[in-house]
Every structure is written in structure tokens, then in C-alpha cells.
């Protein structure tokens, strides 16, 4: 009977009814949805201010029904700091790619964490610069070919893939740091919980919270969405292990 039927999965309120501009099979969409769900879960939509970064996710404001400010490439953490310092009763999050956060924006990221700014950063690590057409990212795996590492990443030339979650977890100001992926039902659930926890910690004013999402860029990897998912599982996770790297107990703050 139709009447008894209940919607058990629907688009979160915070996500507008608008199609994403992302390429087919791009994980940005999954991450967007989970962030929106976390905002819904804690009923934060009306007091959230989002910070869009420059990368494939720049159109954050087209999808999230919250106030949004657009940051220059790499500076989202600094912008978020400004927002939070001005309105410390609001929920502030930024959403950034690996080029944005780990390359050009690494100074702002580290110092924002070190200051223990009470904000949440969602970090999309897809081992490549998506928006600009697939150049080397600081997270590009060794041997991976990109449009600016045409012979494959070589550590003598380009250095090593950088593990941001591990670095940030070492800083005193970080309250929560986790790395997640969407490769299996189990990992999807873990990702959802981690993103929720980050917002919950912010709500409870515990300090800086950070979730790194291992993400696929089928377009620039030159793989199908399904093969891209496999690459995340088989190539990325071994180098970028999943898990919670730091979780502060409330007491630590005092």
C-alpha cells in the first residue's frame, strides 16, 4: 500500500534541488550530500556560513542553501577564521580540494589548526587538480602521471605525496582529524559519522576539526567511475590510511 510507504532516503534539506555540475562519478557529489546531511542532523542550516574554495567545488553556493563566501584559491581557512572570529556563535565550514588546501593553502591550513580555530574543514583529496585539468597535486601518488608530471611523479623531482591528516593531527589545536573514503558500504558509513562528528565537535566548541575525503576524479584520471572507485580502494587507501587520527576529549580544552 502506497500510504504506508515511507521515504527512507531523500535529498537533505540543506542541498538545493539543483543538478551538480560535477563530472559523472565524481565523489564531490557524495561529499556534498554528507555535509548537508550533517548540517541537517544538528539543525545548523540557519546558522551556518560556508566558505567555498577555488577548485571543482567552487559552486558550493549553488548547492548548499546556506550563506556562503567565496575565498581566493587556498585561503579558505583564513577566510573561515575571519568569519568565525566575527561571528563565533555561527557554524563555519570550508570545503577544499587538495591543490587548494595542501599546496597553495598549506600555511593557512596549518596555522588555522594550530590556533585551534573552532571551524570544520572538509578536505577532498583526489590526487589531482581537477578544475584546471589534471595537474600534479601535492597528494599525487608516486608514479602517477598527470598533465604536469607526464613521466609520472618522481620524488626526486616533485617530492612525496603529502599526508595532511597526519600532519594536522600532530598540532595541539586540532580537536578532530579523520580520513575517510566512499569505497565500500562500511567506509561510506564511517565517512558519514566522521563528518557528523566534525560538526558536532564544532557545535561543542572543541576546536579545529578536519575530515579528509579520498575522492575520485574520473575525468582527470582517465578512468571510468567504477574503475576510479577501485583506484581509491586499491591505490589511495594503502598510502593514505583511513581512520580517526585525533579525537580530543572535551577535557583537553580546559
Amino acid at each position: 500500500m502506497q500510504a504506508a510507504e515511507k521515504k527512507v532516503f531523500e535529498r537533505p534539506r540543506t542541498l538545493k534541488e539543483v543538478p551538480f555540475h560535477f563530472c559523472p562519478g565524481c565523489h564531490h557529489g557524495i561529499a556534498h550530500r554528507m555535509v548537508a546531511e550533517a548540517i541537517d542532523k544538528f539543525q545548523l542550516r540557519e546558522r551556518t556560513i560556508g566558505v567555498a574554495s577555488v577548485g571543482c567545488s567552487v559552486f558550493l553556493y549553488d548547492y548548499f542553501d546556506v550563506d556562503v563566501i567565496e575565498a581566493p584559491h587556498g585561503r579558505a581557512a583564513a577566510v573561515a577564521t575571519g568569519v568565525k572570529r566575527a561571528r563565533n556563535d555561527r557554524i563555519v565550514f570550508s570545503y577544499q580540494g587538495d591543490g587548494d588546501l595542501a599546496s597553495i593553502g598549506i600555511a593557512e591550513t596549518i596555522h588555522t589548526a594550530n590556533r585551534g580555530e573552532n571551524i570544520t574543514i572538509i578536505f577532498i583529496n583526489n590526487t589531482v587538480y581537477g578544475m584546471t585539468g589534471g595537474q600534479l597535486a601535492p597528494t599525487t601518488l608516486l608514479g602517477q602521471k598527470t598533465s604536469t608530471s607526464p613521466y609520472g611523479r618522481d620524488f626526486m623531482q616533485d617530492g612525496y605525496p603529502i599526508r595532511m591528516t597526519e600532519i594536522l593531527a600532530t598540532l595541539e589545536g586540532t580537536a578532530f582529524a579523520a580520513r575517510v573514503a566512499f569505497t565500500t558500504p562500511k567506509n561510506i558509513n564511517m565517512a558519514k559519522k566522521a563528518i557528523e562528528k566534525a560538526f558536532q565537535f564544532q557545535k561543542e566548541e572543541l576546536g579545529f576539526t578536519f575530515v579528509e575525503v579520498l575522492s575520485a576524479c574520473p575525468t582527470n584520471w582517465g578512468l571510468s567511475p567504477v574503475d576510479s572507485m577501485k583506484r581509491v580502494e586499491n591505490e589511495m587507501i594503502p598510502y593514505f590510511p583511513l581512520g580517526i587520527f585525533k579525537e580530543r576529549k572535551a577535557a583537553d580544552v580546559l
Binding site: H21, F22, C23, C56, M131, T132, G133, T219
Partner: protein, 183 residues
């Protein structure tokens, strides 16, 4: 003699590829040529278009407001570019994706070509662009068909060289459509 053409369609339809082919063909014939893509690298999805100008004299603007011809591969592009065509210019329309009755102008030569359908009949839907450029070159004589065919080796990587014969076939099929389409 100076001739300009705008080609437009969805991102994946190979618009820039045929634009490049035309430019190489013109170069091959010793003509002056400019190829100008309107691109959206930093924006995913959306449409693609490019402008090619071929001339016996040095070329000024690679941008044209009133092209001699337009090749259109989908409906949004028809809506955008039909009005641009110079009076008495030419419209090459992929009627598989943009119905002929959506067009509005009568003062231009019209070449309706069901490119996707023809391509599917050939067994490869991705050849639609080749059919259209074949038709365009035939109808305008802007370059010779031979020059166009020669350009394939410039734009198709060695890895895909085996597809060249198919493409030649499609170009010729397109050329054959010209009479049918606009007799």
C-alpha cells in the same frame, strides 16, 4: 577570400576536434587560418564551441560576430548561434539532436543532416562530428576534401590511428549528404 565558421555542440561531441581539422587543412593548403576555442576548462559540463577563420590574406580578428557558416550539433547551440549567421550564410544542423523545425531563419542556406543517426548506422555514434565537417567542407569548398582527410593524422593520436579509415568514411558520407540536404 575570407571565410569564417563557428562550430558548436555539447562538450563530448568532438567540436574542437573538427575545428582543429579544418585549421590544419587550411594550413596544409597554405592558407592563413585562425582557430579560436571558446572553452570552459574551469567549468565542468556545458557546451563547447570554436571559431575558424580561413583566408588568403593575413587575418585580423579570430573572433567573428557574423560568421559565414555555423555548424550546430545540439539544440542549445542552435538557439545561441543561428541568429549570428551572416545573411545568405550557411547553417549545418545535426537534426538528430536539434530538430529542423526549431530553426527560425529563412535567409540562409540550410543543411539539415541527421548526423548521429547516420553515425549510428555506421556503427559508431561518435562519428557525427566527422559527418558534419565533411558536409561543411563539401558545401563551402573552403578547403579540399583531401586536405581535410590529411588533417586527420594531425589531430588523431597514433594510438587511435586505426580509427582513421572510419573517420574518412564518415567525412565522405557527410559530403554525400550535401546534395540531399540542400539540393
Amino acid at each position: 577570400m575570407i571565410q569564417s565558421v563557428i562550430m558548436a555542440g555539447f562538450g563530448g561531441q568532438g567540436i574542437l576536434l573538427i575545428g582543429n581539422m579544418l585549421a590544419y587543412a587550411a594550413l596544409g593548403e597554405g592558407k592563413h587560418v585562425t582557430y579560436m576555442p571558446a572553452y570552459g576548462v574551469e567549468m565542468r559540463g556545458g557546451t563547447a564551441n570554436c571559431t575558424v577563420v580561413v583566408s588568403d590574406e593575413p587575418i585580423g580578428s579570430p573572433i567573428v560576430g557574423k560568421p559565414d557558416a555555423v555548424i550546430v550539433m545540439n539544440l542549445p547551440s542552435l538557439k545561441k548561434f543561428e541568429s549570428w549567421i551572416k545573411p545568405e550564410g550557411k547553417l549545418f544542423l545535426n537534426t538528430s539532436l536539434a530538430p529542423a523545425d526549431e530553426r527560425t531563419r529563412e535567409d540562409i542556406a540550410f543543411y539539415p543532416i541527421p548526423a548521429n543517426d547516420l553515425a549510428s548506422q555506421m556503427g559508431n555514434a561518435r562519428l557525427a562530428n566527422m559527418i558534419l565537417i565533411g558536409a561543411y567542407v563539401k558545401a563551402t569548398g573552403i578547403v579540399s576534401q583531401d586536405a581535410l582527410i590529411d588533417s586527420l593524422s594531425k589531430v588523431i593520436s597514433e594510438r587511435n590511428a586505426r580509427f582513421i579509415p572510419q573517420n574518412i568514411e564518415a567525412i565522405k558520407l557527410g559530403a554525400d549528404q550535401v546534395e540531399t540536404a540542400n539540393p
